[in-house]
Symmetry: C2
Subunit: 153 residues, 2 copies
């Protein structure tokens, strides 16, 4: 189980160009009516299939590595449900921020995700000034929502 | 695009034991609200991931081979949406019947599917006496329905 908070980033901080970064392309093969989703992701040279099932507390997730041939065969079936972004990894004290700069139809959107060891740590976190609105509980900013519905109004 | 007809088989024909057959286990990772489905299938020693998207005329399908490690990692996420059956291939003139004998919760169900080259051939087909009700258009007998809803009443 992951404990994360997610923020909008109105204006990315300095030093983004020197941070470690990778392009990410991801698309959804299926988004089910019982909270399940099947996602393809290409991160740098690696390809993955990720399956999530269930909701809330009982959510299960499994990821497997795909070879290029498998990925290329399946990718066309994610048409109209894709996201393209560049992920930057930024240190913040003992934490690490995953800062995603979206491209294509989501151009202009920048988000930051931070993973915590515990709920207490997550609650106690004091975001730096450059982090904007907390959208942790806003479903419109989930990647599967962005891939199907686009940018929130 | 496949042109098929599907029948219930109240009483399987003689000679089933000598027909070529393979055990099939299949489970659904996702069944989406826009007609998409993601299926895992193990047929004999081979493992597959099959993705279908769209409805009716624009339905797209893609199948890739999985290695055993990939299959084993993903299989647990098909819990509660599985089917186990033995497929028999029976010649019938120039045609071939895929006769599926279901096991587990679907024990007692036997279906036969026949693929045709054209709509005309499918319409003109005269089923032998041992083929029962034509359930080609009965969604309750689709494998994804059987896996989620069980046997029709």
């Amino acid at each position: 189980m992951e404990i994360e908070r997610k923020f909008l980033v109105p204006s990315p901080p300095d030093g983004l160009d020197s941070a470690r970064s990778e392009p990410i392309d991801q698309g959804y093969l299926a988004i089910g009516d019982e909270g399940e989703e099947v996602r393809l992701r290409r991160l740098g040279e690696e390809s993955y299939l990720t399956v999530k099932r269930g909701r809330g507390e009982v959510r299960t997730e499994q990821e497997v590595t795909l070879d290029r041939e498998q990925f290329d065969a399946l990718w066309p079936l994610t048409e109209d449900r894709r996201i393209s972004k560049t992920r930057h990894w930024l240190p913040l004290g003992d934490l690490e921020i995953e800062l995603d700069v979206y491209a294509g139809e989501l151009d202009g959107l920048v988000t930051a995700e931070i993973e915590f060891e515990s709920e207490d740590d997550a609650d106690a976190f004091e975001p730096p000034d450059w982090l904007g609105e907390d959208v942790t509980d806003d479903d419109r900013y989930k990647n599967e929502s962005l891939a199907t519905d686009g940018l929130p109004d």
